[in-house]
């Protein structure tokens, strides 16, 4: 649960990717257990969507970095009053 602990946006992001990989592993393990290939297809979909998410997410982080020269999420508290 690095997402909740770390303060660096990129590391949080990597932790999210780790969560997705954990799901992928679980899916493949179940697929072997049930002898059912459908979850392996699901894993492909997860990977594709994760790639799309990486593209958007890194763009957002770069946009943020250009503005404040930092990827620390503590500065995000500016939105709170």
């Amino acid at each position: 649960m690095g997402v909740l602990m770390r303060r660096n946006a990129i590391i949080i992001f990597m932790c999210v990717e780790l969560m997705l990989n954990a799901v992928n592993l679980l899916m493949v393990a179940f697929s072997k257990m049930f002898n059912d290939p459908s979850s392996q297809i699901f894993v492909f979909f997860i990977m594709v969507v994760a790639a799309a998410e990486v593209a958007v997410g890194l763009a957002i982080i770069v946009m943020m970095y250009r503005k404040v020269h930092s990827v620390d999420i503590n500065i995000l508290n500016r939105l709170k009053h």
């Binding site: 899916m27 699901f42 998410e53 958007v56 957002i60």
Partner: protein, 461 residues
């Protein structure tokens, strides 16, 4: 299925339009025409499904989609709301940034996600629908690049959103482990007694993951910041149509597959509903900015929509349809008024009734609908979801609690009305309100009242 294909093509056309043309108003009119077209295709599909009564719901993509009459009807209503949204706010969308066509393209892709969520029958489609719906939203939230708040909102939304996607996927994987299938029909095989702990934790993860997307209470932390920071036209879209789409997915999953397991998840969802209502309404009272108040009010309204999920019966399905449309129409109208004002605080509304009586009148109707005053759509919506919960009969304490919270909500909605009518001041507008704006707001107003008088129009299932 035609609507899904059409929405995808519209998205692609809009992207090309933004490459080929720099003419902003031209792109807005093109988008309006295309969304009219999309709405027409939806109506065509509804017409076909009415003619095909007695035939089993057509299944697409290897039985992963089953577009039953509810799915088609709901897609049609959501397209109608999106069309209304574009008619009301199209010009404002064009002012957000340079890449106007792409915003409309992303909105069209979000519509694809909503259609998928309305008619999925496989967890793969649920996952893909939720992602198609979320990823464009991350971009839309950050589309005002000059504004740091918008960037922050986008980053926050992205991090929380992808985290919740991870949790949702974990739930799907666990349910797969318990049943050996992704088909939501097969989840019915789960037996109430001797329930697999794997399935139980899977359901819990799904509640958390979907709760994130609909901003239910313990998972609502991102909502006010994101809705406040995003450009106002996109907040209007995210807090209404998108939220309604995710709710229907939630409803479909929990009624179609876990309907016979209610004693396992009923209590969890009931507690989430109570916290959502409490946090949403009580925090909204203390807000200074109307935009932020609307963000909290959208959490509160999500609490009411959760009633439809709690009560597993047919009235709940009717309730969610009415609630989705009534809430979307009123909130889109409210945001369309809000965006005309320079100052988003309550003081910004001071004296609006003197300056723009028509605008103030429309705002009053929208706010009354959100508060649930009779004769408006909001009343009928609340009536139907609470009726569903009463019919179900297990959560009477929650219904009473919801009524108290609805009374609290009247306070903060009427603060705006009081500011408009009884306080003196100069409400500054961004630009003059044109006749077109007034006409569109008037039509929206009529819709709100029409839903309040004849809700059965929306129930033509």
């Amino acid at each position: 299925m035609k609507a899904i294909i059409a929405a995808t093509i519209i998205g692609v056309i809009m992207m090309f339009a933004s490459i080929l043309s720099n003419n902003k108003s031209g792109i807005v009119s093109l988008a309006t025409v295309l969304f009219f077209f999309l709405f027409g295709i939806n109506i065509w599909e509804v017409y076909e499904s009415i003619n095909a009564t007695g035939v089993a719901a057509p299944a697409y993509l290897n039985n992963m989609m089953s577009l039953d009459s509810f799915a088609i009807w709901f897609s049609m209503l959501m397209s109608g709301c999106a069309l209304l949204y574009i008619l009301l706010l199209g010009k404002e969308i064009a002012k957000v940034g340079k890449h106007v066509g792409e915003y409309f393209a992303l909105i069209a892709f979000i519509m694809v996600g909503i259609y998928l969520l309305a008619g999925y029958s496989n967890m793969l489609m649920l996952f893909i629908g939720i992602e198609i719906l979320s990823i464009p939203q991350y971009i839309l939230a950050g589309s005002d690049k000059r504004n740091l708040k918008s960037t922050e909102a986008s980053l926050k939304y992205f991090l929380m959103g992808s985290f919740s996607t991870g949790i949702l996927l974990m739930g799907i994987a666990m349910l797969y482990g318990a049943t050996g299938s992704f088909d939501i029909i097969n989840f019915r095989m789960l037996q109430t007694d001797a329930l697999n702990p794997l399935a139980l934790s899977g359901i819990l993860f799904l509640i958390i993951g979907l709760g994130f997307k609909v901003s239910a209470a313990p998972m609502h932390m991102w909502t006010p910041d994101v809705y406040d920071g995003s450009p106002t036209p996109f907040t209007a879209f995210m807090s209404t149509i998108v939220k309604a789409g995710v709710f229907v997915a939630f409803l479909r999953l929990f009624h179609a597959s876990f309907g016979n397991l209610t004693n396992h998840w009923m209590m969890i969802v009931a507690v989430i509903t109570a916290t959502t209502l409490f946090i949403g309404n009580i925090t909204a009272v203390f807000q200074q900015s109307v935009k932020r108040m609307l963000a909290y009010s959208s959490i509160a309204q999500a609490g009411f929509m959760l009633f439809a999920i709690l009560s597993v019966n047919a009235t709940a399905w009717q309730g969610i349809v009415i609630y989705a449309v009534a809430y979307s129409v009123a909130t889109i109208g409210m945001f369309a008024v809000l965006i005309k004002l320079k100052d988003y605080t309550y003081d910004g509304f001071n004296g609006l009734a003197k300056k723009e009586p028509a605008l103030a009148f429309f705002t009053t109707i929208f706010l009354m609908s959100l508060a649930g005053i009779p004769l408006t759509g909001g009343f009928m919506a609340k009536y139907f979801v609470l009726l569903a919960a009463v019919q179900q009969g297990q959560v009477m304490w929650l219904v009473i609690f919801a009524l108290i919270m609805a009374a609290v909500s009247v306070y903060y909605y009427f603060k705006v009305i009081i500011a408009m009518y009884f306080k003196t001041g100069e409400a500054e507008l961004n630009h003059e309100v044109t006749g077109y704006d007034k006409l569109m707001l008037g039509i929206t107003c009529l819709l709100v009242i029409l839903i309040g008088l004849m809700p059965q129009l929306l129930l033509n299932l």
